[in-house]
Symmetry: C2
Subunit: 473 residues, 2 copies
């Protein structure tokens, strides 16, 4: 599965030429026919390669004219390296700071680079709203009391169908609908732990995971995580050997905040390792659909033969942010998760579930996702470029292959919390590094969101941030 | 506040005459003018008294004809007495059984006497749906990512306005919107406890309270509770003196399942007692609007001068069951509740919140509530009557003055769980007593829901239940 295809090889060559400055932004590249002759491959292979580059925002096609290099990939900006958290488990207490950060993005007129959400203008609200209305008009009254766990049957059927299309066979009965992936994570984590247990997490880690750990009175053990490959498996193996671990929470696909994507053989090895120790894996997979490459990465869940993986996802990042509809596929913990759901929020509103089911059945979800992927890939390039031009020397940047956040390592002197305060004074929100660590590491890191429609205001905000960061050195 | 008004006194006299058999079902009572002369009071006082009796479903007015006794209040059926749970704190584990009971009410064609919801056909779904559609069409995209805690501003303003109309002054900023009262209870309870703490609860108690206690790893101490007056204050005072208590959860108004209504002086004494011990009170007040009397009972929260009361309510029982919108007024624990909300479910969908706010601003909420109250009061009489006619001798029944559930004490030999199983075979769901107790007391009690439109099917179901219960003796 890790073998590189021919068209990917050709795309790689073009990226290399751009990085080396052989091809410059705005320059025309070989036409499809010319490239086909040069590489001695079929027209369709070249088309495939160019489409991939276009999806990544690296080249653009101009009608009647050909393909052009779009933006410079700045080879001068290094990437952050493997993280190195201390190998101790920690009680968690970051909620106050996260609370402030999330409150800040509600300010009117703010540039929400610190937001966890993509731009709300990118979603088919009107279409969903029409479905809500038309379904609501003919809804049998009995439905109106709420869909008890595991949730709306038709929605679970549609979700199962989408997994099926990707080759992952499951039944609607395996799915529990939740109030977003946040609730899914919380329920799954509670289903497999008791207060005082130690949980393995990535480092840096999405703060919602820290919240869940804090709320449930658990301890966190942070494992080094690589900005491209994800969690370090040898460090993980070590931890499992030396300590009693109750569960492991990982985002294999486009980890937040790193954007890392675990290679398939790593996913397989991860599942095998955890199965050996009978440790449940909670897989947060909310960004899987937002890949810039050619095909969707697979969830680790597909390698799970023991029912030990509790897979979580949602529509909040891809279709309907405000609907708060997510799901869990909890494997052997299904019954416990359903019970906890019932105990905490009882039922979920039927209409948003039914509207999403209807959209999945009849809407243009795949077309919408293609649009979103292109846009995010392009906006990532625009943000990378602007950061490269305006941030202080020594800044390091991730190059995610999906999702909509960048992880930025600033020179060691730049304190992210200070920068966060300064930025707020300029009506710019950012997510400071320490909220992504139980140990409050990443003091000189920030996470930036490129999931909003790129405008002059965003470019200006990035420049302002660069200026403020420079001032802190 | 406990003084009885003149028209209540007259209404009481009429009830007495009916109970004594002096007035019989179907008989005409004195006209308003005759009664005014007889009692030597004004016409308007008599009108008031008759309206009260009408609202309670005791008399009915027939156009051009006068007022008639509607249904027999069966004086032969005794009421259950004060409960007597063991004075020990208990770990809680009832969720599996509750889960089964709630799953059963999803069966097609079932008569849902065990349901916790009122009849879904009684709510203004279409009106709310129209609001959702029209608001959704003009919603600024930014709203679409969800209302972070404390929730939608306009909805909080409308809720505050309703409390204000009842003389309870609070600001929208004091309110946290939640996923139904169930989430409000869970968040409030977690805000004031840590695992292992002991919590005081009523006995019998709404099982959602037991769920929250079980989920959070707390212990429950059940206090005797009276079917009319609510929790026994001297038993409560004793418990507070003898044990470390972390919090107290009470439904002062129309307790579920008892229907008990704490007299105002009891509410005041309760608040004073808890304040003395600095013990927080979580007040579940979801049935307050569903009173059969003349005015709404007050929440205990209004006597809270120390910010120790965490008041919880929702629209699920009164306006929009499927919307899952509730709220908490957490007093001094506001910030913690907001944080926990953020940690568990992040945000709430804006559209249902906005639609309810719009309905409160422009809809006919008070008219809708008046209709609901009359209906429930009448249906209670119909169910009481049918039970009196068809249940085995020795059955005892509550006489709630609000809400939509009856608490039925069967002869000691009748095991509620057995009856529950038998009833299911006849496609009738009931709520068996043991799910209302951490100690699994109330083995011969059931809770019945009269909140659904009364039809021949319901009458038949009650008769079947009576027959099945008799068979178990």
């Amino acid at each position: 599965m890790q073998t590189i295809t021919l068209y990917e090889k050709i795309a790689e060559q073009i990226i290399y030429q751009i990085e080396q400055g052989i091809l410059k932004p705005g320059e025309r590249i070989l036409s499809i026919r010319q490239a086909s002759l040069k590489h001695k491959v079929s027209i369709s292979t070249i088309l495939h390669a160019y489409l991939l580059l276009e999806n990544k925002g690296i080249i653009e096609s101009r009608p009647q004219s050909g393909y052009y290099v779009r933006l410079q990939i700045n080879a001068l900006l290094a990437e952050p390296t493997l993280s190195s958290p201390r190998a101790i488990s920690t009680e968690v207490d970051v909620s106050q700071l996260v609370f402030e950060v999330l409150n800040a993005i509600k300010r009117p007129g703010i540039i929400p680079l610190g937001s966890p959400f993509p731009g709300p203008e990118l979603f088919p609200h009107q279409q969903l709203n029409k479905y809500i209305y038309s379904i609501g008009r003919h809804l049998a009254p009995w439905h109106a009391v709420g869909d008890l766990p595991p949730g709306n049957q038709e929605l679970r059927r549609q979700i199962a169908r989408r997994y099926l299309q990707k080759g992952y066979i499951l039944s609607p009965a395996d799915i529990v609908i939740t109030a977003g992936a946040t609730e899914a994570l919380n329920l799954c984590l509670q289903a497999v732990t008791k207060p005082g247990d130690t949980i393995i997490i990535e480092s840096p880690v999405f703060y919602a995971v820290l919240h869940a750990i804090e709320r449930l009175g658990l301890k966190a053990l942070e494992i080094p995580t690589h900005p491209r490959q994800g969690i370090d498996l040898s460090a993980l193996a070590n931890a499992l050997k030396n300590q009693q671990i109750a569960a492991c929470i990982i985002m294999p696909n486009f980890q937040n905040p790193l954007g890392s994507l675990m290679p398939e053989e790593n996913k397989r090895a991860l599942i095998k390792l955890l199965a050996c120790h009978e440790v449940p894996l909670i897989e947060d997979d909310v960004y899987q659909e937002l890949y810039f490459g050619d095909t969707a990465p697979v969830p680790a869940k597909i390698y799970d033969s023991k029912g030990l993986v509790l897979h979580c996802s949602s529509f909040s990042k891809t279709l309907a942010p405000g609907y708060r509809i997510g799901w869990a596929i909890p494997g052997r913990f299904q019954n416990r998760v359903e019970q906890l759901k019932l105990m905490h929020t009882l039922a979920l509103p039927p209409l948003p579930q039914m509207a999403i089911a209807e959209y999945l059945a009849h809407g243009a979800y795949d077309r919408h996702l293609r649009k979103l992927r292109r846009l995010f890939a392009l906006q990532m390039q625009q943000m990378l470029q602007t950061i490269a031009e305006s941030f202080p020397l020594g800044t390091k940047l991730t190059r995610p292959e999906g999702g909509y956040v960048l992880w930025v390592e600033l020179p060691a002197q730049v304190k992210a919390l200070k920068l966060y305060q300064l930025a707020l004074q300029h009506n710019i929100s950012i997510a400071p590094g320490p909220i992504f660590s139980a140990q409050q590491n990443y003091q000189n890191f920030i996470r930036l969101n490129y999931g909003h429609t790129w405008t002059a205001d965003y470019a200006q905000a990035i420049k302002t941030l660069g200026r403020l960061a420079a001032r802190l050195i």
